[in-house]
C-alpha cells in the first residue's frame, strides 16, 4: 500500500524537511560531537578551546531542529503526531539534553564552584541527545506501529537492542564529526589531540555498522527487512560510498590534511542519510504513512509556502554568514 501520490507542494515540503534534517544532523552533529569529546578531555585549557570552537555556532545549529519539528506539524501533521507519540520518551530526553547543554554552555564560565556540574551537564546532555537520535533512527528502520493515524505501540517500543546499537553508533559518529571539526578549527596540541582520536572513532563506527548489518541479516530481518533497500539494489551504492568515506577520513587524519577528516565524515553522514532515504521512500513513517497520505491539504501547504520561500533562504544565508564571520582557526578565543 503506497497511498495517494504526493502533490507537488507535498514533495516540496518533504524536500525542505529532509534538507533541514540533513543540515541539522551535520551542524548540530559536530557540536554535539565536541560536547561528547569534551567529557574525555583532561585539562581545563583544552576544554575551553573546545568550547571556543563551537561558541558562535551551537545555538544557531539547533534552529534547524525546530524547523524540522514545527515544519512537520505544519505540513505533515500525521507524521508529527505519530513520531511524537512513538518517541515520547526519546523526545523528552532530547529536549532535556538540549536544554542542559545550552544552559551549561552559557553558565559554566560564570560559576567557579559549580563548574563541574555544568561540565557534566554539557557532556551528558550531548551524549543523551546523540543516543536518542540514533536510537530513534534504529527504531524507524524496524518500523513504527500505526493504527487509525495514531501511534499504536507502547512508549518503550523504541528501546530494542537494534535501536540501542544505532544509538551508541550515533554517539561515536557525532564524536567523529566533532573530532574532525576540532581539527578544522584548532592547531597545536588541541589539533594533535583530535587527530589522534579520529582513527579509532572511525574504527568503532565501522564496527557498529558491521554489527548492525549482522543483526539485520541474522536476527532482525523480519522488521528491518520491510525496508525497500532489497528492491533497490542501486541503493547499495550509498552504504558502500559511506564506508569509503569513513576510510578516507582515517586516511585524511594520517596525512594530516586539516579539512579532509571533517569533509569525509560529512560525506559519510550524507551517505547514511541517503541510504535511509532509499530504504524508506515513499514512507515518511516507516512502514505505515507515505508522503502522499500524511501531507496536510494543499491549501495549508500553499499558505505556508509564501513564508517558507522568503524566510528559509534568509536563515540559510544567515547561517553561512555566521560561519564566514567566524572562519579560520580559534586562537585564544573570539574577541
Amino acid at each position: 500500500m503506497n497511498g495517494p501520490p504526493p502533490s507537488d507542494l507535498a514533495l516540496f515540503w518533504a524536500g525542505v524537511i529532509a534538507l533541514a534534517i540533513m543540515v541539522y544532523v551535520i551542524l548540530d552533529g559536530f557540536d554535539l560531537g565536541v560536547g561528547i569529546l569534551f567529557g574525555t578531555a583532561s585539562d581545563d585549557a583544552q576544554r575551553a578551546t573546545m568550547m571556543d570552537t563551537i561558541a558562535p555556532f551551537w545555538d544557531g545549529n539547533e534552529t534547524w531542529l525546530v524547523i524540522v519539528g514545527a515544519g512537520l506539524f505544519a505540513t505533515f501533521p500525521a507524521v508529527y503526531a505519530v513520531f511524537m507519540g512513538a518517541f515520547y520518551i526519546p523526545v523528552l530526553l532530547l529536549l532535556f539534553g538540549l536544554i542542559f547543554r545550552g544552559v551549561a554552555f552559557e553558565f559554566r564560565g560564570r560559576s567557579q564552584g559549580m563548574r563541574w556540574l555544568w561540565d557534566w551537564g554539557f557532556f551528558l546532555g550531548s551524549v543523551v541527545v546523540a543516543f536518542v537520535q540514533g536510537a530513534a533512527v534504529g527504531a524507524m528502520m524496524r518500523g513504527i506501529a500505526v493504527h487509525d493515524g495514531q501511534f499504536a505501540g507502547s512508549s518503550f517500543d523504541w528501546l530494542h537492542p537494534f535501536a540501542l546499537l544505532t544509538g551508541i553508533g550515533l554517539i561515536f559518529g557525532y564524536a567523529l564529526l566533532g573530532a574532525g571539526w576540532i581539527v578544522v578549527k584548532s592547531d597545536g596540541a588541541m589539533r594533535d589531540w583530535a587527530y589522534a582520536r579520529i582513527s579509532w572513532l572511525a574504527g568503532i563506527v565501522f564496527v557498529i555498522i558491521a554489527l548492525a548489518f549482522v543483526v539485520v541479516l541474522g536476527v532482525d530481518a523480519g522488521a528491518v527487512g520491510q525496508g525497500k533497500l532489497g528492491e533497490r539494489p542501486w541503493g547499495w551504492a550509498f552504504p558502500l560510498l559511506g564506508v569509503l568515506a569513513l576510510a578516507a577520513a582515517v586516511a585524511g587524519a594520517r596525512l594530516r590534511r586539516d579539512l579532509l577528516p571533517f569533509a569525509c565524515t560529512v560525506l559519510f553522514f550524507l551517505c547514511a542519510f541517503m541510504t535511509l532515504g532509499v530504504m524508506f521512500w515513499p514512507y515518511m513513517v516507516p512502514y505505515a504513512l507515505t508522503v502522499g497520505s500524511a501531507a496536510a491539504p494543499d491549501v495549508s501547504l500553499q499558505f505556508l509556502f509564501y513564508g517558507g520561500v522568503v524566510v528559509l533562504p534568509v536563515i540559510a544565508l544567515y547561517t553561512v554568514g555566521v560561519y564566514w564571520v567566524f572562519r579560520g582557526k580559534v586562537r585564544g578565543g573570539y574577541g
Partner: protein, 467 residues
C-alpha cells in the same frame, strides 16, 4: 480527581506554557520599550537614554534566550501529548504556529543581530530602524500565537473533511473578529508588564540611592507609559469580555459564577464558588450590575450555568478567581501609575519612599495578570480544546499511559527548576547591578546565542578576560 493521561497532560501543558509565556510577554514589551527609548535618544541626543538602553538591551537578550529555550519545548508538546488534536487540526494550527517560528527565526537572522552587536557598524538611524523592526517582529510573533489560540476559542473559516479540520478561508482564520480584539489585549498586556518592570527597577535604584539618573528615567517613563496604556487596556479587556459573552456564554457564566439564569442579573464581586452544590458561599453581590456589565442595560436577562448540560460546563473556580486577580492587577497598575504621575507633577515623587516601595513591589503585577488572564481564557474554554468541535479528553495521544506523563511532568518540573533558577538569578543580577559603563564585546556572541549576554565582563567560555 483521578490522575489519567488527560489531566496530567493538561497540567504538563499548563506548566510548560506558563513558564514560557512569562518571557515572550516580557520581551515583547521590552522590545517596544527599547525602540521607544532609542527613538527618544535619537530625537533629544540625551546620553542618559543611551545608558538606559544599553542596560535594558542586556536584560532583553537574556529574556529572549530564555524564551527561545522554553519555546523549543512548546514546539513538541502538541505532538507528544495531543496527538489527536495535532492530526485533526494540524492543517490549520500547524501553519499558524509554523509562521510564528518563521517570524522568530527571520528576526534572529536579521535585525536582532544588528540590535545586539551592530551598534558600531551601522548609522544611528538604521540602528533605530533595526530596533523598531525587532519590536515589530516580536509583535508579529505573538500575532500568530494569538491567531492560533483565537481559532481554538472561536473556530472560523474551516470545513470538516474525514473528521479533520481543513482551512477554507485563511482571512477568517487569521484576521477574524475575535483575533482582532485578543491580539491587542495581549500586546498591551506585554507592554504594561514590561513598563511596570522598568518603573519598579527605577524605584529600586532610587530606594537604594544608586544609578539615580538612570533610575529616574526608568521610573518616569515606566509610570508614564503605564498611565497612558492602562485605560486603553481596560477598554480592550472589556471588548474581550464581550466576545466571550457572544461566543462562549458558558465561560462567561463561569467567570461571573452565575449558576442560575437571572433577570436582572446581579454581579458577584467576590465569593467562594461551591461547584458541588452549584452555589456561591460568602458572596458579595451588587444587584443589577451583572446585566449592566454584560448587556449595557439594567434589566437584561443573563444566562447561568444551569442553561448548559453538565458535560459542557467549564470549571468555575479558576476562571472566576483568575479573572478577578487579573482585573485586580490592572487596578493596581492604574492606581500606582496615576498616583505616581500626580506625585511627579507635584514634585514629590522621589521623597515618598513608601510610594517607591509600592512601585518596586508592583513589579510582578503584569506577569500575574498575563498568567491569570490566560488561565481564565484556557480553563474557561473547557471541556473543549477546540471550542464546540473537539473535547480535550478526546484530543490526547492515545498511546500515552499515566506513567509516561507522570515521568515527563516530573522531568519538566525538575529541569525547569534548575534552568529557571539560574536564568532568573542572572536576570536578577543584571537588574541589581544596574547600568554600568559600556559593555565589553562578548566572545563568539551571535544573534542566535542571546544567553551569552547574561554576563557582561567575563567570557562565556571561560577564556576571556577576568572580571
Amino acid at each position: 480527581m483521578e490522575l489519567d493521561p488527560v489531566i496530567l497532560s493538561r497540567i504538563q501543558f499548563a506548566f510548560v506554557i506558563s513558564f514560557h509565556i512569562i518571557f515572550p510577554a516580557f520581551t515583547i514589551g521590552l522590545a517596544a520599550w527599547l525602540a521607544t527609548i532609542e527613538g527618544a535618544r535619537l530625537v533629544t541626543g540625551n546620553a542618559l537614554y543611551r545608558r538606559v538602553f544599553d542596560f535594558w538591551l542586556k536584560v532583553f537578550a537574556v529574556s529572549f534566550g530564555m524564551g527561545v529555550v522554553t519555546g523549543i519545548v512548546m514546539a513538541f508538546q502538541f505532538g507528544t501529548n495531543w496527538g489527536v488534536l495535532a492530526v485533526k487540526s494540524g492543517a490549520i494550527q500547524g501553519p499558524l504556529l509554523g509562521y510564528e517560528g518563521l517570524t522568530a527565526f527571520l528576526l534572529e537572522a536579521t535585525f536582532f543581530g544588528v540590535m545586539l552587536l551592530g551598534r558600531q557598524r551601522v548609522s544611528p538611524r538604521f540602528y533605530f530602524f533595526a530596533c523598531c523592526m525587532v519590536s515589530l517582529g516580536t509583535m508579529f510573533s505573538s500575532f500568530w500565537i494569538l491567531a492560533n489560540n483565537s481559532w481554538m476559542q472561536v473556530p472560523l473559516g474551516h470545513t470538516v473533511v474525514d473528521g479533520k479540520f481543513v482551512p477554507s478561508d485563511w482571512m477568517q482564520i487569521v484576521l477574524g473578529p475575535v483575533q482582532m480584539v485578543r491580539w491587542p489585549h495581549m500586546l498591551l498586556a506585554a507592554f504594561l508588564t514590561s513598563a511596570m518592570c522598568v518603573a519598579a527597577t527605577g524605584a529600586w535604584y532610587l530606594l537604594r540611592k544608586v544609578h539615580r539618573d538612570e533610575g529616574r528615567v526608568m521610573l518616569h517613563w515606566g509610570l508614564g507609559l503605564v498611565a497612558l496604556l492602562i485605560p486603553v487596556q481596560l477598554y480592550i479587556g472589556h471588548l474581550t469580555g464581550l466576545y466571550v459573552l457572544k461566543h462562549q456564554p458558558a465561560k462567561f457564566a463561569a467567570i461571573e459564577a452565575r449558576w442560575k439564569n437571572e433577570q436582572p442579573a446581579s454581579e458577584v464581586l467576590i465569593a467562594w464558588p461551591d461547584e458541588a452544590n452549584e452555589r456561591n458561599l460568602f458572596a458579595i453581590t451588587v444587584p443589577k450590575l451583572g446585566s449592566m456589565i454584560a448587556s449595557g442595560n439594567w434589566n437584561s436577562a443573563e444566562v447561568g450555568l444551569e442553561s448548559f448540560p453538565r458535560e459542557d460546563r467549564p470549571p468555575v473556580l479558576i476562571p472566576f478567581f483568575g479573572f478577578r486577580i487579573m482585573v485586580g492587577m490592572g487596578l493596581i497598575m492604574l492606581a500606582v501609575s496615576w498616583f505616581g504621575n500626580w506625585l511627579r507633577w507635584r514634585g514629590q515623587l522621589e521623597g515618598k519612599r513608601w510610594f517607591l516601595w509600592g512601585t518596586f513591589l508592583s513589579f510582578p503585577t503584569g506577569f500575574i495578570a498575563v498568567l491569570t488572564g490566560w488561565y481564565t481564557a484556557e480553563v474557561g474554554r473547557q471541556p473543549w480544546v477546540i471550542y464546540g468541535l473537539l473535547r480535550t479528553k478526546d484530543a490526547v495521544t492515545p498511546s500515552l499511559t499515566t506513567g509516561d506523563v507522570m515521568f515527563s511532568l516530573s522531568g519538566y518540573v525538575l529541569v525547569y527548576a534548575v534552568v529557571y533558577s539560574f536564568g532568573l538569578y542572572y536576570i536578577y543580577k543584571l537588574l541589581r547591578d544596574g547600568p554600568a559603563g559600556l559593555a565589553d564585546a562578548i566572545p563568539g556572541a551571535t544573534a542566535k546565542r542571546p544567553m551569552a549576554f547574561a554576563g557582561s565582563s567575563d567570557s562565556a567560555t571561560g577564556t576571556g578576560r577576568p572580571p
